[in-house]
Symmetry: C2
Subunit: 441 residues, 2 copies
């Protein structure tokens, strides 16, 4: 069984912990089975491993998130990178083509597409397997999961099934309704559309060729930017007559805002924070190493990270996007394929960055025209190359690099470096890359 | 006229912006006459300069605060340092002896003691002058300022005057009462004791000799640590039969808690912060360079500094002390005689500090046994001396210092340095000082 997890958007509604390069699914809000910090991505992946240990998991995601996914899940998952954002139909088609052309999955095999952000019990993934098995049976072209609604939500699309059976044909789809209409749908037996689609690979292959002119995966990838933004529901599901839905009546939440997210976090405090005894329904997530003290608060979320500090009434936090848009700040923290970096000090003619390189990782071999740099190795071991000269380094070593000199570092262990950039015009684009000399590796 | 300003305590109730080395009176909450940021200390000093330009101002303060006072007020004020905290009687006696023995103020001259933290209009200082003039007249041994009460406060001591005249003899003093008793006092015409005392210098000189066995200022200073903690009210005022009070009926606030402090700050936002339109009666003071976003809050103060983050209901913030006591953190930011420092990164075997040296200031000439250091000059100009070798430095220069090597830096302009300390046992006490070679200055 092939599972495609759709890992979407940049998640401004969870600012300051999500930003353009770091989405909510990577933030370690949760606790894993051994009490370790766990992200949404890691949680869902762990649940899939448990329910369907033989499944092949592929993450459909933007190129910029690929590094973070590798860091959190390792090498076992496939990644179908999207050159840019183009809604769910192009993303699902691209990932399906990736499975077929790159991973050589046969056209008869079953594929299940599932969003990455449902916060659910393990039974959800048992149900997901049923959805896949139903698609494998070939009774329908497309099989969906329908969530039993718990209230007349205006946030979801609705599926109207033909019967109240566990597995039923779909009568019709309804777009996000207002609350009144949602009540009527629910009275008719409607289910929430949970964004799960299962099909035989060839089905989406055919749909993609019907709707888009392309040759193969590589060609589809090359044309991706020109594709229209269109959802899979709108492009495919709503036109498909032969479609079934499998009911799921367990707990199901999507964690898009601080309000919904904090409802699911067991611990009121993540990170260094203290609440006085008069605080009620307060959540603090603190990623900085300064303590947070909360007193006399009610229904409030406090989120602290390198990009900023949010203090918000939980309900009100849903409306944060326009304010966050106004902040216009470059991200001060990012996970990269090779580790992560954090900007820790900014002056007019200097920039100080803390860099963590994972074992075996290296930077590009590069130079800067208009800035000098100083590396202080603050922990770990590695090798530094400056103008083709190699040097073993470990905690305590200091390397100074004049503008124009080529340099790189290769981590042997986890390697932490304090980099001070010094110059009049410090700019991320002031970087010349050089061919990597194989002898260094 | 001699004015002694009592600059007290460490102000845990304004955490995180006040700490053991930085009291509330030094934080620039206010705006000066030209719109510049202004501290409580600077505000009070400016008001005194305006009301009594010829007065000599002496600040009675703990040794640890002397640097911050010099930085904010310059060289024009006298500083009477206290070796440790011993309540107001020893502090006033020490400062009075300092005036007499060190500043050679004559025994007949008038001294006015005033707390440093009243937040008042200029008329208060006009009234302060009257208190001094009344003391100068010699009608009474001691003259106080009585504040017209605005509510039956339990926080202040009360003075019961003999008459309702502007200047009256004092009938009796009352300790901090409960609200009921306070109402009765006020009905009798009682005034708040505002902590102002005016006297001829010789009066406190005599009282000090009556109560404490000592020779002179130097001897009193040497014995200071052994003195009992006792207030001036209790030791002197309450036993003095010949005492007058001058009434003050202007606005008067003491700014001891976030609740009272935020009432006086005009701007709802100090530093980088945004409030949504649903916030009511919210104050944000942000000293970090990450943005703060507040949404849907009411009656809340958010204070952000290098030592931590407070989010509190304004009333509740009065009860913060036990929580702050639990935090047990060394201060990460401090003002020193030579400038300031901020710890910006801590790892097991490294510590990164941003140091600002004021023009003309220098460090001690020193070395460390168990750590190397790297200085990256990030702005300004100065001179570095390493093992007796001088070197002019400016922004962009990097100095590496091995353990054991003697080093210092002298600032020509404001000089900012990123110092990375590297070693297995980094400890503030690992510091050997050396004689300063005069040739370097």
């Amino acid at each position: 069984m092939n599972i495609i997890l759709l890992s979407g958007g940049s998640g401004k509604r969870l600012w300051p912990l999500s930003n353009d390069v770091r989405s909510k699914q990577f933030i370690k809000f949760f606790q894993g089975e051994e009490g370790e910090a766990e992200s949404m991505l890691q949680r869902v992946y762990r649940q899939i491993q448990k329910a369907a240990p033989d499944s092949e998991v592929t993450i459909a995601t933007s190129k910029t998130q690929a590094s973070a996914i590798r860091n959190q899940l390792g090498e076992h998952v496939g990644i179908s990178p999207e050159p840019c954002r183009r809604d769910t139909f192009p993303a699902i088609a691209l990932a399906t083509l990736y499975l077929h052309d790159v991973r050589k999955v046969r056209a008869e095999e079953t594929v299940i597409v599932c969003p990455i952000d449902p916060y659910v019990e393990d039974s959800y993934f048992e149900n997901l397997k049923k959805v896949g098995e139903q698609a494998a049976s070939g009774e329908a072209s497309l099989v969906l999961m329908g969530i039993e609604p718990t209230y007349p939500s205006e946030k979801y699309g609705y599926i109207i099934p033909q019967s109240t059976e566990n597995i039923s044909r779909v009568r019709t789809f309804k777009e996000k309704p207002d609350a009144e209409t949602a009540k009527e749908y629910i009275a008719e037996g409607a289910l929430w559309n949970g964004g799960v689609f299962a099909y035989k690979l060839k089905y989406v292959l055919e749909k993609a060729h019907e709707l888009i002119d392309f040759e193969d995966y590589a060609d589809f990838y090359a044309k991706y930017e020109e594709l229209d933004k269109i959802s899979f529901d709108y492009a495919v599901a709503e036109h498909e007559p032969n479609i079934q839905v499998v009911r799921f009546d367990g707990a199901w939440k999507d964690l898009g805002t601080w309000n919904t997210l904090t409802e699911t976090i067991d611990r009121h405090v993540v990170g260094d924070a203290m609440l006085d005894e008069t605080c009620e329904n307060v959540h603090v997530i603190n990623e900085l190493d300064v303590p947070v003290l909360c007193m006399g608060l009610k229904d409030i979320v406090v989120a602290v990270g390198p990009d900023g500090i949010l203090v918000s009434d939980k309900m009100q936090s849903s409306f944060m996007k326009p304010y966050v848009d106004k902040l216009h700040r470059p991200a001060r923290y990012a996970e990269k394929s090779w580790g992560d970096f954090r900007i820790i000090d900014i002056e007019e003619d200097s920039l100080t960055i803390k860099i963590t390189l994972n074992p075996g990782e290296k930077m590009n071999y590069h130079s800067h025209e208009r800035r000098d740099e100083v590396w202080s190795i603050i922990s770990g071991e590695g090798k530094v190359i400056v103008d083709d000269m190699e040097q073993e380094v470990s905690a305590g070593d200091v390397i100074t690099m004049q503008a124009g000199c080529r340099h790189t570092v290769i981590a042997k262990t986890v390697l932490k470096i304090l980099e001070v950039q010094l110059g009049k015009e410090i700019d991320v684009h002031d970087k010349q890359k050089f061919e990597w000399e194989e002898k260094f590796i």
